[in-house]
Amino acid sequence: MGFREINSKMIEATVAPGQKLFSQRGAMLAYKGEVSFTPNVMGGQGGVMSMIGRRVANEDTPLMTVEGNGTVLFGHGGHHIEVINLSGDTLYVEADRLLAFEGTLRQSTVFLGSQGGVMGMVRGQVSGQGLFTTSLTGHGAVAVMAHGGVIELPITPGRPVHVDPQAYVAHHGDVRNKLSTALGWRDMVGRGSGEAFQLELSGSGAVYVQASEEKL
């Protein structure tokens, strides 16, 4: 199980009976064997309540369930793909960046205000995440899409990482993030450096950054 990277824009997943896979709708490129793709009305795991939660939180990216026996190739829109293997910790990522993830992972929606109150909400607005983001917990692999290549920056205690909110893709581990601002009078008169807002991540874990400031 897991995802195999074929090239920077394509992954191969093996589906075996009894194992489920969730992927973004329309992201299948090709498959071998007997595999079925069922649109997931709920938009992911959990019951009706999770579905309503996702709808409210605007994290309801159309997903489909992939089941059967065979291999499937995934890719979408020519975006670069990064495979992240989780072993027990939690990955925070925007739902529309999710290309595919294994059914062994637990998906839930997180209110950003719960991580740092009002500043959390401001941070969500600035980084384009909105007020909510999606978290995946457990053991399994996740394929995340990004514009341009992805680099992983480790975060260790005492060494916080500053990230451009537009280049932020995802993070995992025990990480606190806060928005640091460097606003000055120059920004007020329109002569700012363009880097007034940064995302400061501290704790232990890793953050994934894309080599572009363009959204998906």
């Binding site: 920077s8 709708r25 079925s36 069922t38 649109p39 489909m64 829109g77």
Partner: protein, 267 residues
């Protein structure tokens, strides 16, 4: 990318007519064709630079009639192709797609028409039965582009139509509809109400038999760009007078109209 001549830390590689590779990739996104008095078919707008004296003639030109008769059997696409001849080196590229050359030896290969950049006249081009695809038959070299590196698959395989670049030697490309999706209780409900949406994967191209299927990593095709027009930029001579191409959306400009001024005043 450092496999293409640029050592890490060194500056960009500078090429001249001698150091440019002959019929090979310059980098993953550019291909260099060497012309020594021979001819190449070329899709319009895919040539980005050339050294030497190369002549580009549209197809349907009287002198090229014989060549077209022997190796170009696709009148639908005739307006998109030119013949390059002369001597020199010519660089081909397409929308920053990955570019590669392939050799056919008494073979056949079918490719999406937008992905084929150039081919030698020893190959003959025909329209495929599948709309939007072209078939090359014979012996020779052709250059094709793909969004991301091309992935080769062995049949039996089912491929999303948008991810398909082409196929070689496959006798039976056919449509495959996922019937299971429309049956059952939920499927019946979906079919009746239209609720629940589609997975987007009900329809694939299915390949069986011996052969190779070529795929690109992306499902999204970049929009086909108008070619042949001067870019609408300041400082480009002829910009704004491109004769039908490059005009913004809306009604076609008629002779005697005021053009931009008129539009600016909302007339």
């Amino acid at each position: 990318m450092s496999t293409y001549g640029t050592a890490p830390g060194a500056g960009p590689a500078v090429y001249d007519p001698v150091t440019l590779p002959s019929d090979d990739n310059v980098d993953p996104y550019t291909f260099c064709v060497e012309l020594k008095g021979n001819q190449w078919f070329l899709q319009k707008g895919k040539m980005i630079a050339y050294y030497g004296s190369v002549e580009f003639n549209g197809i349907g030109h009287g002198r090229l009639d014989r060549l077209v008769r022997t190796s170009f059997h696709s009148p639908l696409h005739a307006s998109d192709w030119v013949v390059a001849e002369g001597s020199g080196k010519m660089l081909l590229a397409d929308r920053a797609f990955d570019v590669n050359a392939y050799d056919l030896d008494e073979g056949n290969l079918t490719i999406r028409s937008g992905n084929l950049l150039a081919f030698q006249p020893s190959l003959s081009l025909k329209q495929s039965i599948v709309p939007g695809f072209l078939t090359l038959i014979g012996t020779g070299k052709f250059v094709a582009a793909s969004n991301g590196p091309v992935v080769f698959m062995e049949p039996p395989v089912r491929v999303d139509p948008q991810a398909l670049v082409g196929w070689a030697d496959c006798p039976s490309p056919c449509h495959h509809y996922d019937h299971g999706y429309m049956t059952g209780v939920m499927g019946g409900l979906r079919a009746l109400t239209g609720l629940g949406g589609t997975s987007g994967e009900e329809h694939q191209f299915e390949f069986v038999g011996a052969g190779t299927v070529l795929m690109q990593s992306s499902e999204e095709l970049m929009p086909e760009l108008d070619t042949g027009a001067t870019p609408q930029q300041a400082g480009v001579p002829g910009a704004g007078m491109s004769g039908g191409h490059g005009q913004g959306p809306g009604t076609p400009r008629l002779p005697g109209q005021l053009g931009d001024l008129q539009r600016r005043f909302g007339l």
